[in-house]
């Protein structure tokens, strides 16, 4: 049985869900296909906007200022493209870019309020949350559970990293050492950093504990009290003012748990930024899905877009494949938010890269065709460096309305818009810009798709 919609969004991460929510809130009949979860779900759950300019080594203190610089220096960056729409006066280009990003980020923060992943922070300044390695990173918004309060400003702050016996994803002693060395070098508080281990045993065993079972366990009544009881002695012993936990404080009750633990212990409690499989990432994913379905959008899980029908320069429909069935969906416009290599929006072999749904030709970070590149040659010899891996900047080249373009710069279809990591021209890992670009491009792609749909109907 075929389906019809105004807008079909392909991909259910940050970019796709924001695009879908915007469209559904506009009253459009919106179907979102999701083949699987992806990078958003295993992000640390913080929203990076811009942490470093490409190749730079000093962090950006304000996303707003970062955007000003970026839009001047990198006009083809996914943040910047929107400013170069011919409808925008040349004097307003930079302002438009900064405003649109701010609008998208503000929208996101407002919409996630009251969900399982409420955010804090603002567009004016980056925060520097601590990671499970004991390092810090610049980011724009964090989940409220990650709020470390005045640990880095209060002169007498004493921070304890709390590990859990048998939970290998976080080692409090190395995190404490690394963080303390960082603070000493920076000559700022906290000047005392310790580490302790507590026991949380959802199934009665102190080994092979996963983040999800700990988080689920802490969602249950009574568990926070037990935890507080164990912590008391440690806190007194060191005079701890702040407690850093791995990001496992709960799925549905994480923020409540933080507040409760703070009340019970008289300290500031916060979650560190962690690695996948990530609970804050899961909370963010759930929260985004909630706002999408609340807006009236329809999710089609377990469906992969496998083919499309295009007449002239209009995509008419796509075929979605579930494990044992197929379905055709007609729509007026489509948003492609399939991610990069993890999401599967871009795939490659030793002969080159391709976009996977519409077989479009990706480009490299400097906008040469990536269809015939040898991936290993688009890499740096250094594994982890500020240069990053150039292959991670490959993706689709889009016009100022976020439509993928051909070699000649003309859009491939009038009604196909791209958003998120499938777009070329930025390396989110080194820029610290992943979810910010996803949110902003999802936001803009949806606005453009809505405009197009209103024109044709």
């Amino acid at each position: 049985m075929d389906l019809e919609a105004d807008l079909v969004v392909i991909g259910g991460g940050m970019a796709g869900l924001i695009a879908g929510t915007i469209a559904a809130e506009e009253g459009l009949d919106t179907i979102l296909l999701r083949k699987g979860q992806s990078a958003t779900a295993y992000s640390s759950g913080a929203i990076d906007v811009i942490g470093y300019l490409p190749e730079a080594s000093e962090p950006i203190s304000s996303p707003e200022e970062g955007l000003f610089a970026l839009s001047r220096l990198y006009p083809l960056h996914p943040y910047s493209v929107i400013g170069y729409d011919d409808r925008i006066e040349s004097g307003k280009i930079v302002e438009t870019i900064v405003e649109r990003t701010k609008e998208a980020i503000t929208w996101l923060k407002a919409h996630l309020d009251g969900t399982d992943a409420p955010l804090m922070g603002d567009f004016k300044s980056n925060m520097h949350p601590i990671t499970i390695l004991g390092t810090t990173k610049p980011t724009c918004l964090i989940q409220k559970t990650m709020d470390h309060g005045d640990v880095q400003t209060r002169e007498d702050s004493v921070l304890l990293f709390i590990g859990i016996t048998g939970y290998a994803d976080f080692n409090p002693s190395t995190a404490a050492k690394t963080y303390l060395e960082d603070r000493i070098a920076d000559t700022s508080p906290p000047r005392i950093v310790g580490h302790r281990t507590v026991q949380v045993m959802p199934f009665g065993k102190p080994y092979n504990l996963s983040s999800v079972e700990l988080a689920r366990h802490l969602d249950h009544e009574g568990t926070i009290e037990d935890l507080a009881e164990q912590l008391k002695g440690h806190i007194e012993q060191l005079g701890a003012t702040h407690l850093a936990f791995p990001p496992i404080l709960g799925i549905q009750n994480a923020l409540k748990n933080k507040v409760k633990l703070e009340e019970l212990t008289g300290t500031t409690v916060f979650e560190l930024l962690g690695f996948p499989p990530s609970i804050p990432g899961q909370r963010l994913q759930r929260a985004l899905e909630t706002i999408f379905t609340k807006a009236g959008g329809k999710m089609l899980l377990g469906h992969e877009a496998t083919s499309y029908q295009k007449v002239n320069d209009i995509v008419k429909s796509i075929t979605a494949t579930a494990p044992r069935r197929e379905i055709k969906i007609d729509a007026n416009a489509f948003v492609l938010a399939t991610g990069k290599y993890i999401g599967g929006g871009i795939a490659g072999d030793e002969k080159g890269l391709r976009e996977t749904v519409f077989d479009l030709g990706p480009v490299t970070g400097d906008y040469h065709s990536a269809m015939e590149i040898v991936p290993s040659r688009s890499t740096s010899r250094l594994s982890i460096s500020p240069t990053g891996q150039p292959i991670q900047s490959c993706g689709l080249s889009v016009d100022p309305r976020f439509r993928p373009v051909n070699d000649d710069g003309i859009e491939w279809a009038k009604n196909l818009f791209a958003a998120g990591a499938v777009i070329a021209g930025y390396n989110y890992s080194v820029e610290k810009s992943g979810l910010g670009v996803a949110a902003t491009s999802g936001y803009s792609a949806a606005k453009n798709a809505i405009e197009f749909i209103k024109e044709v109907t």
Partner: protein
């Protein structure tokens, strides 16, 4: 380190060096092994681990005889780290069969003692039933059996056994000079300790140079000369056992190449290119990867669809035969007594050789060493088992006793045999150490702790050699930071050193991943970048990171 006087200093911690140290120590000699990096960190660490019947070298019947005998010894002293490797050589046309009829006979000469059958022919249908990925138009295949040994554990066990017999094993100690007296006799060895940064010296009566691809450089430090032929070989590694049994085929240039299930991966190798580069800088080239894939594609057309996780590259230290292709260079070894050619007295060097013959080589050189020292003690390295080989292990019973998963224990058994109980005992006091750290292999925390305490690793890469840490599909994406924490705890490292350990291991894994990047390895790398650069912010870290040899010059 207590002693400063030795009977013999062995240079090189590869298969040969560790075998020599073991033999010397077992014969009661005061023995010191010096290795500039880690045990099994060079040639032997990049081989497929086949202890072969010498089939490829049938023009050297003596070699084949030695190989066969050595396989028997290995199965006696190290069966816990050995596995059988059934192999098919599919034939696409009759000329394949005709051109090599002699090898079937040569192979079959010593089969009984090795406890394998003679070579046999299989029909196309039977072949395809055994391996459905085979080209549908093969006309027949030849079946034979070989054995594998875990090359890392072998070297480590030889080193540990040498230590048990009184030898000193010093890794990260690079020989930089020799003390030579007026009579051109070597009296002492000077080496640089790369961990402490100190220069040290020891006195010795004899030096055995088993430095493999650096043997000529060691000779040069002794102001002596050793001609050598270095030859690069590369492997492509797949994420799991993608074939049911081993496949061998003739490559486009007529060399034999192979695709072997190995532990829980599959190895495709090898190439052979004469090289004059610094072995530390070598990586597999695009051409080498294509040479292997295209050659294997002739019999396994879908090989490219499988997941390639990395490449590995090593250097063969061959006997310096000129005017012959690599495959015709003898795989026999030579022992060069430098004193015989007016060279330095007390310096003995190795050239050539194979993994399977390392014990034999050690026996021969130790005989010579004993003769020079005027001692008459018989070799027993072929009789006394290596640690862990003593008995069978009941995995199911151990799993019940210690509440650890069967598979984690089975993998541990394949590394440690009966010695695994030492690891398990640690979990009695520390049940939390039952936690899996490397999810691909799998490795529990207790084994990592035991290895750090007893097997002298300095880096995560050293742990990889001892435990297979980070060798699975994700190539250390998920175990690097966890294992680095444990290493940091055990060695009492500073926070910066912890981050450096992470960066070092990422660099070492990336060395092999990068060359064959394609398919899901693009996603794997996006994930690794997302973790270590995006979240961890380590791309912006200001720790003292030493650029690696293969990272220089871009």
């Amino acid at each position: 380190m207590t002693k400063s006087k030795f009977d013999v200093v062995v240079i090189g911690g590869g298969s040969t060096g560790t075998a020599v140290a073991r033999d010397c120590a077992m014969r009661g000699l005061q023995t010191l092994l010096l290795e500039r990096d880690d045990i099994a960190s060079a040639t032997v660490g990049t081989c497929a681990g086949m202890i072969s019947s010498g089939l490829k070298y049938r023009d050297e019947p003596d070699m084949m005889k030695i190989c066969s005998k050595e396989v028997v010894y290995w199965n006696h002293i190290a069966r816990h780290i050995i596995a059988k490797n059934p192999i098919l050589a599919p034939l696409l046309d009759l000329s394949d069969a005709a051109s090599d009829s002699s090898y079937m006979e040569s192979y079959s000469e010593h089969v009984e003692e090795r406890d394998v059958p003679a070579m046999m022919f299989l029909t196309p249908d039977a072949s395809i039933e055994i391996e459905p990925m085979l080209h549908p138009e093969i006309i027949a295949s030849v079946y034979y059996e070989e054995y594998f040994i875990d090359p890392f554990r072998l070297c480590l066990l030889q080193a540990l056994d040498a230590r048990n017999h009184g030898a000193e094993i010093r890794t990260y100690c690079e020989v930089i000079d020799f003390e030579i007296n007026d009579k051109q006799e070597i009296e002492g060895v000077i080496f640089y300790n790369r961990v402490s940064g100190a220069t040290e010296r020891v006195e010795t009566k004899l030096v055995v140079n088993a430095a493999g691809p650096w043997a000529h450089k060691v000779a040069k430090s002794a102001k002596d000369y050793l001609p050598i032929r270095l030859n690069k070989g590369a492997h492509v590694i797949f994420d799991r056992r993608i074939v049911n049994i081993g496949i061998t085929v003739k490559a486009m240039d007529g060399r034999w190449i192979y695709l072997f299930p190995h532990e829980n991966t599959t190895l495709l190798g090898t190439t052979a290119l004469d090289t004059w580069e610094n072995p530390d800088t070598l990586v597999a080239s695009f051409d080498e990867i294509e040479y292997l894939l295209q050659s294997m594609e002739t019999v396994l057309p879908s090989i490219r669809e499988a997941r390639i996780i990395r490449t590995m590259t090593g250097v063969r230290p061959l006997v310096p035969d000129w005017k012959v292709p690599e495959r015709n260079v003898t795989r026999g070894y030579r022992i060069i007594d430098h004193s015989e050619n007016d060279g330095k007295k007390g310096l003995i060097s190795f050239l050539g050789g194979k993994l399977v013959t390392c014990r034999h080589m050690a026996e021969a050189v130790t005989d010579l060493v004993c003769e020079k020292l005027g001692k008459d003690i018989a070799c027993s390295t072929h009789e006394k088992p290596l640690p862990g080989n003593e008995d069978d292990v009941d995995i199911i019973a151990l799993s019940k006793e210690y509440d650890i998963s069967l598979h984690a224990l089975e993998r541990m058994r394949a590394r440690r045999g009966t010695e695994m109980v030492k690891v398990l005992e640690l979990t009695k006091e520390h049940p939390e150490w039952k936690t899996t750290i490397c999810t691909c292999e799998p490795i529990i925390e207790a084994e990592i702790r035991l290895s750090i305490r007893e097997e002298f690793p300095q880096t995560l890469n050293d742990l990889r050699r001892r435990l297979r840490l980070g060798t699975g599909p994700c190539q250390g994406t998920f175990c690097t930071y966890k294992a680095a924490s444990i290493l940091s705890d055990e060695l009492g490292l500073a926070g910066d050193d912890f981050l450096v350990d992470i960066l070092d291991f990422r660099a070492e894994r990336w060395k092999g991943i990068r060359q064959s990047m394609r398919g899901e390895q693009l996603a794997q790398e996006e994930l690794a970048q997302g973790m270590y650069a995006c979240v961890g912010n380590l791309d912006q870290s200001d720790v003292d990171y030493d650029v690696k040899p293969w990272e220089e010059g871009f």
